[in-house]
Amino acid sequence: MPFPLPLETLVSKPVMFLIFGVIGFAFGFVLESAGFGNSRKLAAQFYFQDMTVLKVMFGAIVTAMVLLFIAVRLGILDFSLVWVNPTYLASGILGGLIMGVGFIIGGFCPGTSLVAMATRKIDGAFFVLGVLFGIFVFGETVEYFYDWWNNAGYLGRLTIPEWLDLPVGVVVVAVVLMALFMFWVAEKLEQRYGGRDLSKEPRWRRYAAVGLVTFAVSVIVIGMPTTQEKYARVAAVKDAALANREVQINPGELLDTVANDTLRVVMIDVRPEAEFNQFHIAGSQNVPLAQISSILPEVHARQAVNTVFVLMSNDEVAATDAWKTFQAESVTNAYILEGGINEWLSTFGEEEGDIAQVALPSGDDSLCFSFPAALGDRYAAADPSPHEWTLDYTPKVKLEVKRDKSGGGCG
């Protein structure tokens, strides 16, 4: 069974909510057990007396990170389906600074204040009321800086290994070593400012550190599966879908899908740039096949319940290759334009005098039309009106129900 589980389709909604409830229960239980229901313990972090916040937070981050990337590398967890908070540098940093100020004044963060309130800490309850008030005010004021909030420093789904162009394993090991160094500094600070007797600290923490580093190094050793290896795992199903023509959509269906206001259609033209400049469908973006992997982070970030990706080339060869890459990387709702641009022009280009068919489709993915000039999408056939065309086709677009992850969480 591939993880994460497709909970929406696998179980009923009450069961899904129960699963999240159980995860929440464990979350709350651990937070309280670690002392996060006590504001004084949390605030002591910022006077170097008790570095529990740092130890628990970074301990949790490195533990989860190491397990996560081991699972990814063993092929049992699909990282493309894991929600990675998109990067909005400006609002993230400003919001973070505001939260830091709120943290030291109020003594909690939202999650810990819930636990404090649940254990009858009155300051925790006042903090929760404050959080609700702050959230309300944000909802009422966000419209004044909506553009800034949505665009400033937006980098999409970007991970540190991608940003630094380093192997994932190297970054994982570096983060673990950084965390261990921070723990060591934290203990020295506690000794100095909090009067902690380090000789009473348990010895197992050293073994735990060694274990953590060992696991982290194994991420480097195991190695990341390639796109080909990932496709091999799903090849049986996907090749059958290709052979049965389940994912090749007729030009008429593409036209109607684009015209459907409830759907967002992302058209990706994988031909070389020169051919794209000759003619392309209005609204399509050019990503030559060789560069298709580079847009995957953006594609994953834009994935949503109502988003359809349509890949196209002159015929279907290059588009099919791109489609296989999308399948290997778990992009849902991806389709191929049937017959490619050639078929599109045969359908919509007959009244376009300037465009002449110079060859018959031969199956080798070459362009069968000639154009008077490289006008891109400034031909009538690039943007046909859906009202003027009624075409018969077998509808093939089936939206796979996926939870819109961006709508939830803290995001």
Partner: protein
């Protein structure tokens, strides 16, 4: 012969609120366990943890009852409660409910359910409550601006190595440390 006085009957209040207090678990053990919970969340559901998102939906739920027309004018609110959408119909809501129940269960188990206000020795309880409310408001505002709180951004995004989450995390610590000296009377 035993009498009722030898074995005073425990009321339910004693059983819930009067249990002996246990110490907190070791921070590294806490980190390890929290990491396992976080990993389990990602592994099973593909989502991390969250808190402020759930509170957000509670607020929008009430806004939607009081002023539904207002919701329809603000795109930010529309996404959660527009038309027939129920803002509470989201995975983060049961997660937050679970967090409350889990916190209570741990407090019960370890005898930490005392009704009290944790504060520094030099301020009154009223001051502490006011500061908690003000700090909470800033937290709530900042968390929505940053699209996540310590749980949803720092922990979850940190574990999957999101660039924005790490920048956010350092910003939180920077903001708190920068101000800590000036508000030391609140805590010490």
């Amino acid at each position: 012969m035993t009498t009722a006085l030898d074995h005073p009957r425990k009321t339910w209040r004693d059983r819930v609120f009067g249990r002996p207090t246990r110490p907190y678990i070791h921070p590294y053990l806490g980190g390890l366990l929290l990491g396992l919970v976080l990993f389990a969340a990602f592994f099973i559901t593909g989502n991390g943890l969250g808190a402020s998102g759930g509170l957000n939906r509670v607020i929008v739920f009430f806004e939607d009852i009081i002023a539904p027309a207002h919701i329809d004018r603000v795109p930010y609110l529309l996404k959660m409660a527009g038309g027939a959408l129920n803002p509470l119909d989201d995975w983060v809501v049961p997660l937050v409910v679970g967090t409350l129940v889990g916190g209570f269960a741990s407090g019960w188990f370890s005898g930490r359910l005392q009704l009290e206000t944790n504060k520094g020795p030099h301020i009154t309880r009223r001051t502490r409550w006011l500061m908690a409310f003000i700090g909470g408001s800033l937290m709530g505002y900042g968390a929505r601006m940053a699209r996540g709180c310590t749980s949803g951004q720092a922990l979850s995004g940190g574990a999957v190595l999101s660039v924005g989450s790490w920048a956010f995390m350092f910003a939180v610590f920077a903001g708190a440390y920068a101000l800590a000296y000036f508000v030391r009377r609140l805590w010490n």
